[in-house]
Amino acid sequence: MLTPPRVLPAGDRALVVEYGATIDAHVNARVRGLAATLDATALPGIIETVPTYRSLMVHYDPLRLAVSDLERILLAADAGLVDKAVPERRTVEMPVVYGGEFGPDLADVAAHHGLSEDDVVAIHAASDYLIFMMGFMPGFPYLGGLSPRIATPRLSTPRTVVPAGSVGIAGQQTGIYPTDSPGGWRLIGRTPVRLFDTERTPPVLFEAGDYLRFIPVSARESAGIARRVASGAFAPVIRVERTQPS
C-alpha cells in the first residue's frame, strides 16, 4: 500500500501533490500517472498540470473550482492509480556527434576520470535515460541514469553561449540544451535534431516519462540529418515496448 501524497497550497491558484522528497523512477511514474489521469478527465477549472521529479503542480481557477473539491478529486485520482496498467515505454533515439568542435569538453571529462574519449562516449551512449521532467527552459529534459563513472562537475566559469543541441554533463546529470543559451555544463557532443519547435504540436519530441538513448553518429551523418531537419523531413526513431507491471 502506497502512502497517500501531501496536498499543499502554492498560493490561490495552484496545489502541489507531493510524493516525498526523493528522485525515484517509481515515485516519478506515480506523478505522471496522476497527470495523465487529470489530463484525460479535462475537468473544468483545472488549467494545467506540471509534472516534476516527485510532485505534480495543478494550476486551477478557484472561481470555477473550489479548492476543497479539487483536493478531494486529486486524492481520489491518486487512489485510483493503484493497479492501473503500466503504460508503454517509449525510447526516443537522439543522434549525437561526440567530441571535436561539437563536444569541446569531451577530452576534459575523459581526463577527469582517467578514461579515453571513446570510453566516455561508449558509457554515455550505453544507457536509456529516463526523462523525469522538463523545465528550466523550453524543451529542456531532466534526465536520470548517468553513470557515476562519467559524472563530472560543472565548468567553474559558464560559457556565455552554448549552441542549441549541445549534450552536456553537470555532476550526476546529463542533458541537451534545446536552444542557444548561457550554460556551465561540460559539453561532450551535439545533436542536429531540433528539440523545441513552436511550429510543431506538441513543440517537443519527447515528454516526461519517455526515455532518451544517445546514438553516436559521424559529423557527416549529422550534417545529413541536419538537412532533413531543416526541410522538415526528419522524425526521430522511437522504440515502443510494452513494459511489465512492477
Binding site: P9, A21, V50, M57
Partner: protein
C-alpha cells in the same frame, strides 16, 4: 484592419495577453501581463475579451502612432500619457483618429501600464498565446520588445465598439504608491524554515531591488533562516512563488519565471497582490502578510467584482470629476481632448454612493459593503 507604428519602443514594451497555458510541462514559461488585473481592465474598457493582447509598457512608455481610427484604453501605471501632446484620461476608453500620436511624459505612479486597442494587437498565436517571452524569442512581436520602425497589426474588432467613454469610476482606480503590503499564503515549503526564519519573513520590511525583471522580483533585507539548506528536489513554480535561496533573501517569481525551480518556497504571494507587486518600483518598501487560503480566494473574488465596476458613463453614480485626471483638468478641457464630450454624454448627477478614494482590492469593510448592496 489597422495598425500601430512604433516611433520609439521605450524602455521595455512587449505584447502580452493573460499568458501561455498548457505548455509549462514542456518547460515553456507562462509569461503574460505582470499585472493581469490591469490588462483585463484595459481590455474590458475597449470591448475586447479579457485575454486580448495589449502592450505592456514599462516605466518610460513608447511613442506610437495609430494607422487608423481606434478606441484605446490605458490602465495600470500612470506614465503621463499624452495624446497628440495633451494629457489623456487613464482607466477610460478613448477614441483616437488616424495618425494620432501617443507619447508618455514620465512615470507618476506605478511601474507598468497597459494599452488596449479595440480588436487587440494581432500578432500570431504561439502555443496558444500572443505573449512575448523574450528570453526564448517566443511569441509577441517577433519574440522581442518592440522598437522604432515596427508596425503592429490591430485585429478586426469582434463587435460594434461602444466608442469612447466607458470607464472605471475614479474611486475604484488603484493608487500604487511606494509602500506595499503583499498578502501571502504560506507554503509549499514553509516547513523548510526555522520559526525565527518565518518570523523574519513576516515581520521585517524588504526593499525591492533593481535586479528585478519579468522573471522575478528580488529584495534586500534581513536574511530568512532555513532549517537545513535552501536546496530541494526541483518542483513546479507559480506566479508569486516566494523562493528563498541560499543567501536567505526572498525572490518573488513573476510572469517569465522558469516553470520549475530547485529552491525552497516559503510562501506564495496572492495573485491579486502579485499584480500589485508588478507596479512596485525598485526602492519601494514591501512587507509580507500571512493570510489563509479561503481569504485569498475571497480577495480574488473581490478583484473580479472590481472589474465589474467598469461601465458606461452615467450608468453608475460616479463623481463627474472622475473622468479626467486632477492634475491635468485644465488641459483636458482644451480643444482636442479625445473622448471628453462623449464621456459627458448622458451623465447623471452624482449619487450619494461611496466616493472615498479607496485603493482597489484592499478588501476594506467599506468596499465589501458596497458590493453587498448589489
Amino acid at each position: 484592419m489597422t495598425w500601430i507604428d512604433v516611433l520609439d519602443g521605450g524602455m521595455l514594451t512587449t505584447v502580452q495577453d493573460l499568458g501561455r497555458v498548457g505548455a509549462q510541462k514542456y518547460g515553456v514559461p507562462e509569461s503574460g501581463a505582470m499585472d493581469g488585473l490591469a490588462l483585463r481592465a484595459a481590455n474590458r474598457l475597449v470591448g475586447n475579451p479579457d485575454n486580448a493582447a495589449c502592450l505592456e509598457m514599462t516605466l518610460t512608455g513608447p511613442e506610437l502612432r495609430f494607422g487608423g481610427p481606434v478606441v484605446i484604453a490605458m490602465t495600470g501605471a500612470d506614465l503621463g500619457a499624452l495624446v497628440n501632446g495633451r494629457p489623456v484620461a487613464r482607466w477610460q476608453a478613448v477614441s483616437a483618429a488616424a495618425d494620432t500620436v501617443l507619447t508618455f511624459a514620465g512615470v507618476r505612479d506605478g511601474m507598468r501600464a497597459y494599452l488596449a486597442v479595440n480588436g487587440g494587437i494581432d500578432v500570431p498565436l504561439v502555443l496558444g498565446s500572443r505573449s512575448t517571452f523574450t528570453r526564448s524569442a517566443l511569441g509577441g512581436f517577433e519574440g522581442r520588445m518592440i522598437r522604432a520602425g515596427d508596425r503592429m497589426p490591430v485585429g478586426v474588432a469582434p463587435g460594434p465598439p461602444w466608442g469612447s467613454g466607458r470607464l472605471l469610476p475614479r474611486r475604484a482606480v488603484p493608487v500604487y504608491g511606494h509602500v506595499h503590503s503583499l498578502r501571502v499564503v504560506m507554503g509549499p515549503q514553509d516547513d523548510a524554515f526555522t520559526d525565527e526564519g518565518i518570523r523574519t519573513f513576516l515581520a521585517e520590511t524588504y526593499t525591492l531591488s533593481t535586479q528585478s525583471d519579468r522573471i522575478g522580483c528580488r529584495f534586500s533585507g534581513p536574511r530568512i533562516a532555513h532549517r537545513a539548506g535552501a536546496d530541494i528536489v526541483s518542483d513546479g513554480t507559480t506566479l508569486g512563488s516566494v523562493q528563498v535561496t541560499g543567501d536567505g533573501l526572498p525572490i518573488v517569481l513573476m510572469a517569465d519565471r522558469g516553470t520549475t525551480g530547485g529552491y525552497t518556497k516559503i510562501a506564495t504571494v496572492t495573485s491579486v497582490d502579485a499584480s500589485r507587486l508588478a507596479q512596485a518600483m525598485p526602492g519601494d518598501r514591501i512587507t509580507f502578510v500571512r493570510i489563509g487560503l479561503d481569504e485569498a480566494h475571497a480577495l480574488l473574488g473581490r478583484a473580479h467584482a472590481w472589474l465589474e465596476e467598469i461601465r458606461q458613463p452615467g450608468a453608475g453614480g460616479e463623481d463627474p470629476a472622475a473622468i479626467y485626471d486632477e492634475d491635468s483638468g485644465a488641459a483636458l478641457a482644451a480643444e482636442g481632448y479625445l473622448g471628453l464630450a462623449s464621456a459627458l454624454e448622458g451623465r447623471q448627477a452624482p449619487s450619494s454612493g461611496p466616493t472615498t478614494d479607496l485603493i482597489a482590492f484592499d478588501g476594506t469593510q467599506a468596499h465589501d459593503d458596497e458590493h453587498d448592496e448589489r
